[in-house]
Amino acid sequence: MPRPLPLIAVTEDFEAFYKRQYPRAVGVAYALTGRRHVAEEIAQDAFIAGYRRWERVSRYDKPDAWLRRVVVNRSTSVLRRGVTEVKAIRRLRGGVDHIPELEPDASDVWNEVRALPRRQAQAIALFYLEDLSLDQIADVLECSPGTVKTHLRRGRVRLGRKLQTWKEEA
């Protein structure tokens, strides 16, 4: 018979972790998907995954890095598939937007960020939104700090060109 998997013991730690990290997870997902309700769904789904694995995740040196990785990857997956809804995610609050819209300029900037190559967009979101260091971003993206630095540099350059063009056109 298969060995029973250990039951997950949810502790107060998870709840504290959840409450502390949830808004930031939504922010990263919003930046990377551009859709508010989808961002909430992605964040919720990530925390559900974390809940189910909490016994293990809580023992990680950096459970927040694990969470960010899940959020970043799922955000990217949503974009990759081009779906309008995130399926297999159970909405907890009826699927309505609970977060306000961004200012137009901020919205434009994040639109351009999302148009960057995937890794560049992820690095920029984590660097600017989350104030993570290169080492911390490297943990999340599972690459070297040097690679993160390259993604950031290339992303900024490309973004600068796009924003400049946009400004001139405007």
Partner: protein, 440 residues
């Protein structure tokens, strides 16, 4: 305002927005987690599967509840189609799985455990890369081992990606997929022909198999005790492994399973020196890279960074994940393209019926050569590209390797030109993908 300032301001505005966000009650989260756990197994399954030697993997992509035999029953059959249509998950007792595999499953990391031979390493590396794409998005993923311990000489690698969660051009192709191996016909089929991505691959033995997935509380496990006997047992919700065959100490190599060409050779159009266009030849596939899977070609003499880059190229190329493929090369990649970015060109070319990804896969499965440059050793495919002399002096094995991709007329074209000017790939010793080009 410069870019930096605009990014800072945009981030501050995002902070403002998310400051109003409150987490739903944790009780709701728990309830959702429990509900997810009982969602019928494969409600939104997209699937990647490899199959091998005598065992098969399956699943259902439409949320249909599968009805396996009852607990404790043993089903003996030679009708694999019947068995597979009732199969939910395959795995035997995982208690003897290596700790590494247990660790991987508990973390939902998706990679097969293997015994360390190079070509298996390559596959493992590739699948390791998949985890970020599939974790949480599919309900069942089975990575199979190849040919281990089974009396059958079959050595097929089947791959497929189905369902609306499938990447790139496969998205939306959804349906039940039951893999059937037909030894008589040397063929394998899936429930939906147009979704079928089949290629003949390596025959090795011994890789561990890892199954990742959710199952419903009433799901069953089938234990493979032989190629035709399966005993059913109830399982519990969670993440599972599969292992076919006995524990493995060594991996053996063998030749490809079926004989002959699976896919017709490509015919190159145009005169030598022109951009080479590779026509699609009656192949129904959304991504030509999925038509071919490498490889028995030994790569023991390649530096590890090169092997890693190869694995990424093969993974992304075989699925037409062009953004990811482009990322492998970064800004320094030179590709044969007319658009602003290689990914744009590849997208357009695949859509136009050319098949650059098939060519890419095929090239990387050929013997390589090396070119010494001022910046170090460059590893190139095919080996013919590294030949410095005239076409007439090119070693026979280098020319023969080209025959899997080119017709005799194409080779004559190269001879007339005086050297190989077909598609070629270059990767530097430190793993930087330098080019994928054609022409002179």
């Amino acid at each position: 305002m410069n870019t930096e300032d605009r990014l800072r301001n945009a981030s501050q505005d995002m902070d403002r927005v998310t400051a109003s966000v409150t987490a739903p009650p944790v009780a709701d989260l728990r309830r959702s987690a429990r509900m997810q756990a009982v969602v019928v197994t494969v409600a939104t399954a997209a699937a990647v599967f490899m199959l091998v030697g005598g065992a098969v993997v399956l699943f259902n992509g439409n949320g249909t509840t599968l009805e396996p035999a009852g607990p404790g029953e043993t089903t003996t059959t030679t009708n694999e189609a019947a068995v597979f249509s009732n199969l939910n998950l395959i795995f035997p007792d995982p208690s003897d799985m290596p700790d590494m595999a247990l660790e991987a499953a508990n973390e939902s990391l998706l990679y097969p455990i293997h015994a360390g031979r190079r070509d298996t390493d390559l596959a493992s590396t590739a699948f390791d890369q998949q985890r970020e794409y599939f974790e949480g998005e599919i309900d069942v993923l089975v990575l199979g081992q190849i040919g281990s311990g089974w009396p059958s000489p079959r050595a097929y690698v089947l791959r497929g990606v189905f369902g609306e969660n499938a990447p790139s051009g496969l998205a939306g192709q959804q349906g039940d997929c039951i893999v059937v191996i037909d030894e008589e016909e040397d063929a394998a089929s899936c429930g939906h022909a147009s979704q079928q991505h089949i290629s003949w691959g390596r025959q090795t033995s011994g890789a561990w198999t890892l199954v990742y997935g959710r199952v419903s509380p009433d799901a069953r496990v089938v234990t493979l005790t032989s190629a035709s006997e399966r005993s059913w047992q109830p399982v519990r919700d969670g993440y599972f492994f599969a292992k076919f065959g006995p524990p493995v100490d060594t991996i053996e190599y063998a030749s490809y399973g079926p004989q002959g060409e699976v896919i017709d050779r490509l015919a190159l159009e145009g005169e030598a020196g022109e951009e080479l266009a590779v026509p699609m030849q009656d192949i129904d596939a959304s991504c030509s890279g999925g038509l071919y899977y490498p490889s028995t070609y030994p790569r023991d003499d390649l530096p590890e960074p090169v092997v890693q880059t190869l694995a990424k190229i093969m993974l992304f190329g075989s699925r037409c994940w062009f953004d990811d493929l482009e990322d492998v090369g970064g800004d320094d990649l030179t590709a044969s393209f007319g658009g602003a970015r290689p990914s744009e060109y590849w997208t357009q070319a695949e859509g136009a019926g050319e098949r650059p990804m098939y060519v890419l896969m095929k090239l990387l499965d050929m013997p390589h050569g090396t070119i010494e440059t001022e910046e170090g050793t460059l590893y190139v495919w095919p080996s013919a590209h590294a030949h410095q002399g005239s076409w007439e002096t090119m070693p026979k094995e280098d020319v023969d390797a080209l025959r899997s991709l080119y017709s005799e007329a194409d080779l004559q074209g190269f001879a007339d030109f005086g050297g190989y000017i077909g598609y070629r790939v270059g990767i530097s010793a430190d793993g930087d993908w330098s080019f994928f080009v054609a022409g002179d």
